[in-house]
Symmetry: C2
Subunit: 243 residues, 2 copies
């Protein structure tokens, strides 16, 4: 299985996405929050690039909520921040959320040329790995995987890369990796027992802690909490169901 890992949005080289399964990772916090929202009954998440686009989109989707962040904080006039703890059943159950974040929703939108876009995080790792292995067993059209780490403001992000490394490691030895994929797996191997501590010390981790959001970080760095595989279908992110 051919796997190419991208370090962040804004990467100068966009890989070939045809016949590829794209796995978007934004551990802190977009993909962790999306997993949580779906697990808590959110009907669908609509990824958009800007707060303005979110406001315009809501006009066509009455009853939907606005969620997301700029500079890690809730956007003025929005219903939800980018914290997974905002996405509780009482708020998101049965509703659509229009979401805009600095890194994660941009990575999802950048991947739009791919036939399949799925979302990974530590909290849904076991489920995404099982789903990917099962998809490659049955879908012979797929030529490989692009792991799109959202990064932090167009920069390499340690949490995303470690998550990519855990994902690659779980797929087993029959993988062909680009250099960043090899590095991600090495980084995961050298730190799998201290994930939370390393993410605490990362640039994005330190920023969240400084904003009082350490609880978010610890939750997002915990593997295998929720059995959810978010997938893009017709521009909306929904829960993958057996086909």
């Amino acid at each position: 299985m051919q796997i190419e890992v991208l370090p962040s949005t804004g990467s100068p080289r966009t890989p070939y996405l045809e016949e590829r399964l794209v796995i978007v990772i934004d551990v802190l916090r977009a993909t962790s929050t999306i997993v949580t929202a779906l697990a808590n009954g959110c009907q669908a998440i609509i990824p958009v690039l800007t707060p303005q686009e979110a406001l315009e989109r809501r006009l066509t989707l009455p009853g939907s909520l606005l969620g997301g962040e700029r500079d890690s904080l809730i956007i003025e006039g929005f219903d939800l921040s980018n914290s997974p703890f905002d996405y509780v059943p009482e708020k998101v159950g049965g509703r659509r959320v229009i979401l805009t974040t600095t890194n994660g929703t941009r990575a999802i939108r950048d991947s739009i040329a791919a036939p399949m876009i799925w979302m990974a995080s530590f909290i849904n790792m076991q489920s995404i790995v099982s789903a990917v292995l099962s998809e490659f067993e049955t879908n012979k059209k797929l030529q490989g995987i692009v792991v799109y780490c959202a990064g932090t403001e167009e920069r390499f992000d340690l949490a995303d890369t470690l998550c990519a490394g855990m994902f690659i490691d779980a797929l087993g030895p029959n993988v062909v990796l680009n250099d960043l994929g090899t590095a991600a797996r090495m980084l995961y191997h050298s730190s799998e027992d201290q994930l939370v501590d390393i993410i605490r010390d990362s640039d994005h981790g330190k920023k969240l802690i400084s904003l009082g959001l350490e609880k978010d970080l610890v939750y997002c760095a915990t593997p295998n909490i929720l059995p959810i595989v978010p997938v893009v279908q017709d521009g909306e992110i929904v829960w993958l169901t057996e086909q």
Copy 2:
């Protein structure tokens, strides 16, 4: 000491370079070749972006040689490839070399806003580390280091990142790192005994081996062969001498 590591040329975010010492790393092979050329008596290396620029530059520098590569191979009409083994005393002694490579010379030229641009590789590691520590002891204007990994065709490169990790590790514990710097040091720690093997398996390593250039790779992956610190002075790369 604040250290920011960049993954490759073409990175979307160029850091602040004022009052920074930039360390350019292109293990395979530009900075290794530059170190070797200077050790073998080359008078100066002039980094240029394109073969055309090299040809034009030679018109103003009679007696100089043209060196470099495209797609890892010597450029038609040039005197020297990008192999360190081309830069022997009989060829480069006492002469200037105008050099253009895909990644390394571009990274050097990208750094031109910095007051100091030095070059690192495995082969001159001990010397560059000593020179950096000594510079920071005496030059109180310097605010930090930008380690500019040239990468491979605008992508993350494992050899460059491991070299950055060895460099950071050698500077000791009093460093403040961005996420890629932390990752580089972790990668180096987890593989310092198998550098050559890991670089053999990297994307760029495999390419050089496929072209019959494994000898270059093994040489470039060997630490501490030459006591040379290449520095940019007035647009030319020369040997750092005691000030």
